[in-house]
C-alpha cells in the first residue's frame, strides 16, 4: 500500500455494449477516510461500487484493496472488503441469525467467535425481536440493517456501501452515521454511494461528483466550496452548482 491508500480505483472503465457506464475513473481512499460518491441517476455510482467489490469486471483499469489486485486475487482481496448493496436482497427462507452465520461461514469465522460477534452486532440496531424469524417477513428497513451488520461481521478493513440509509427509520439512520464515523475513526476505509446529500455531508471526509460515468469534481467540502466560489454552501447547493442546475 502506497501513501496509506487502502482502496484504489485506477482508471476504471466499464462498457455495456455501446454504453460507457464508467469512463476512466480514478479514486483513492485512505485508511480512516469516508469517501462519498454522489451524482444523478445513471451517472455510474452503482456500477463503480459493483466494480469495487468484484461483482462487475472492469472493461479496463484496476481495483486494489489493501494492496491486493481484486481481479488477479479476488479471494484474498475480498477478505478485506465488506459490502452493502443498494437493494438488500436476502434469502427469504433463512432467519436473520442464520443469514449472519452463513456470511460468517463464507468468511471463515470460527463458530464460537461468530456467535460472540453476532450478539455484539445485534446490539447496534433494534432487530433482536425479528432476528430469528424468516427474512421473507422482514421490512425493507430491517433487511437493510441486517445487511449492514453482515458487512461488519468479518471486521473488514474496507466498507463499500451503496445507499446506506434508504428504508431506515430516522433513529437507525443516525445510528448508521455514528457506526460509519466510528468505523473510520478506528482506521477503517469507507466508499459509499448516496443520493442523500445531507447524510453524505454529515459523514464524508471527501466526496466525488459523477456525471455520465466521469468524475467531474472531487474534494472535501471546503475545497469544493472554494472551487465553486460559494463559501459556507451546503453540499446540496454545491451539487446543484457543479451539475449546472444551480
Amino acid at each position: 500500500m502506497r501513501d496509506g491508500l487502502v482502496l484504489r480505483l485506477d482508471r476504471l472503465t466499464k462498457r455495456f455494449g455501446p454504453l460507457v457506464a464508467v469512463d476512466d475513473l480514478s479514486i483513492a481512499v485512505r485508511a480512516g477516510e469516508i469517501y462519498g460518491l454522489i451524482g444523478p441517476n445513471g451517472s455510474g455510482k452503482t456500477t463503480t461500487v459493483k466494480m469495487a467489490v468484484g461483482l462487475y469486471r472492469p472493461t479496463s483499469g484496476r481495483v486494489e484493496v489493501a494492496g491486493v489486485d481484486l481481479v488477479a486475487e479476488p479471494e484474498r482481496a475480498k477478505r478485506a472488503l465488506g459490502y452493502v448493496p443498494d437493494e438488500p436482497f436476502v434469502y427469504d427462507k433463512l432467519s436473520g441469525r442464520e443469514f449472519l452465520h452463513l456470511v460468517g461461514e463464507l468468511y471463515g469465522i470460527p463458530r464460537a467467535a461468530r456467535g460472540v460477534r453476532i450478539e455484539r452486532l445485534l446490539g447496534l440496531f433494534p432487530i433482536t425481536e425479528v432476528i430469528d424469524g424468516f427474512m421473507e417477513r422482514y421490512s425493507r428497513g430491517n433487511k437493510q440493517k441486517l445487511t449492514i451488520l453482515a458487512s461488519l461481521l468479518h471486521e473488514p478493513r474496507v466498507l463499500v456501501i451503496d445507499e446506506p440509509i434508504v428504508g431506515l427509520d430516522p433513529e437507525s439512520a443516525i445510528k448508521t452515521r455514528e457506526l460509519l464515523l466510528a468505523f473510520a475513526r478506528d482506521g477503517g476505509t469507507v466508499l459509499l454511494s448516496t443520493h442523500t446529500l445531507a447524510f453524505a455531508e454529515s459523514v464524508c471526509h471527501r466526496v466525488g461528483l459523477l456525471e455520465a460515468g466521469r468524475l467531474v469534481q472531487e474534494g472535501d467540502l471546503e475545497t469544493l466550496r472554494r472551487i465553486a466560489g460559494l463559501p459556507g454552501a451546503s453540499l446540496e447547493a454545491l451539487y446543484l452548482h457543479f451539475a449546472g442546475r444551480g
Binding site: F89, G133, A150
Partner: protein, 560 residues
Amino acid sequence: MRLVLRLLAWRARAASAFVREREVAKLVVAGGFALLFGLVVTGEYLFFVRAFRAVLQFPVAAPALTLYALEGFLALVFVLAVVSFVVTGSAVFFRARENRLLLTTPLPLRALFLLRAVETALLTSWSFGVLALPALLALGSVWERRAGFYLAGLALLGGFVLFAAALGTLITAATAAALGHFRSRAGIVAVGGGLLALAAALLGRFVIPTQADLYALFQPGSLNGTPAAIYFLEAKFTYWPSHPFASALFGMATGGLAHRLPGALTVSLGLVLGACLLAAWPGRALFTRAIREAAEGVVVARPEGEVATPRGRAVFPVLLRGPVGALLEKDLLGFLRNPQEVGRGLFLAFLLVLYTVFLFRIPTREIQSAEEVVARLVAFTLVATGYFLTTFALRFVFPAISLEGRMAWVVFSSPLSFAHLLLAKFTLYTLGLFGVMEVLSLVGLLRLGVGLHGFVWWSLLLFLMTLTVVSVALALGTLWPNFREENAEALATNAGGLLTSALCLGYVGLVGWLGYRFFLGLLGGERPLGWVAAVAGLSLLVAAGPLWRARRAAAAFEVV
C-alpha cells in the same frame, strides 16, 4: 369475464412478443422446443399404436384389455391432473406476486378467481394433452375409426380436463380456507402428502392390475353376448369419477357396450357441469375468504406474538461445515422450508414410485424367455429413471445458479471462489438425486430378479447417469444464467434449457440401449464390462465439455 379474457390476451401477447419482433435466437429456441415436443408426441403415438395392436392379438381379451387400458389411463390422468392442479394452484391462486397489485385495483375477486383457475388449468393440463392426444389418435387408428370419432373424443377429453380443473379449483380453495393464513408449512406439506398418499392408495388398488385381474381379463366367458371381463371391469371402476368418460370413449372406439353409450355421455356431462357449479359457488366463496387472509399475511406486518411465525435455528449450519457446507445447507433449508418446492419434488418422486409399483406387479415368472424381457425391463427402467432425472434436473438443477438471483451478491462479494459454489451445488444434487433414485428403484429392480450383483451394476450405471445429467444441467444453467428471473420453470425455457433437454434425453436413450446390452449379457452369465465402459466413456464425453465451458464462463460472471 371480458376483463379476464383481456388479461389473458395481454399475457399471451407479452409471451409471444418475440414472434412479432422476430428475434431469431428466441424463435430458434421456440422451434427447438416445438420439435422436441413433436418428437415426444410422435414417439408416444407409435408406442400406443404398438400396444393397442398387441392387445388385438388376443381376440378373447382384446375388448377387456382395451377397456382396462382406458379406465386405468383416465383414472391415472385424473389423479395426476387433480394433484398437479392443487400443488400448482396453491402457488398460483394465493402466492402470485401480482396479487398484491391486483388486490389494490377495482378488479372483482370473482374475476381474479376465474383468472387464477384458468391460468392453473393452462399450466397443468398441457401435460394431459401430451399423454392423451397420442393415445386418442392411436386408439382411432388401430380400431379404424372415422373423423367423427376424433372430434367426439376431443370434446369428451376436453370435458374431462374441465372436470379435473374444476375439482382441482374446489380442493385448492378449500385447502387454503382450511389452512387459514396459508402459512403453516406443516399443514401444507400434510395436505400435499395426504393427497399423494390417497392417490397412491387409490391407484395401487384400482389402476395397477393384480395378477388376479390379469387372469380375469383373459377368461373367455360371456354374459348376454358381452365378455364377462367387461362386467368385471365395469364393477371395479364404478365409483371412479373417470369411469363414465372411459366407458364412453371405449364405446365410441370399439362399439362395445353401445347401449350404455348415451348414459355414459350424459353422466360425463353431468359430472363436468356439477364440478363447475361446485367450483363456481362454494369454491369461489372459499377463495374469497382465503385470498384476503393470504394477502394480509404477506403484506401486512402484524404485532409480535399475534401470529405464530416460523423461526430459524440458533446456530447455522448444523449438518455441514465450512463455506461449501453452509451453502449446501442453505439450499437444503430453502427447499425444505418452501412447501411449493417440496410439493413439486414429492410429485415427481410419486410418479417414480408409481412406475416402480407397476414393475412390482409384472408377472415375470410366467414370462417365457425371461432374460430378454427382464433385460428390456431393466433398460426401460433405466430410461424412465433417466427421464425423471432430466425432468428433476431441469426444474431444480438447471436454475440452481440463476436462483442465487438477486441474492448472488452475498456469495460473489465474499472470498469464496465460484468453483466452490459450483462444487456445492454439484455435490448436493448428485448425491441427493442418486440417493432418492437408488432407494426408489431398489424394490422394483430386486423384484425383477436381477439379484444383488445386478443391482450393484445398476447402481453404478445410475450413478454415472446422475453425475452426467446433473453436470450438464448445472453447467448449461451456468452458461445461460439469468439472475433477474425468479421463476424456476421459466428459467428452463431458454436456449440452455432446450440444450439440456435435448442432450440429456439423447444421452439417457443411449445409456438405456447400452444398459440393455449389458444386462442381457449379465443375465446370460457373462461379464460384459465393455458396455459399462462405454457408458462411462459416453458420460465423460457428454459432461466434460459443458463443465469446462461453464468454469471458463463463470470467471467472467457479473452479478446484477
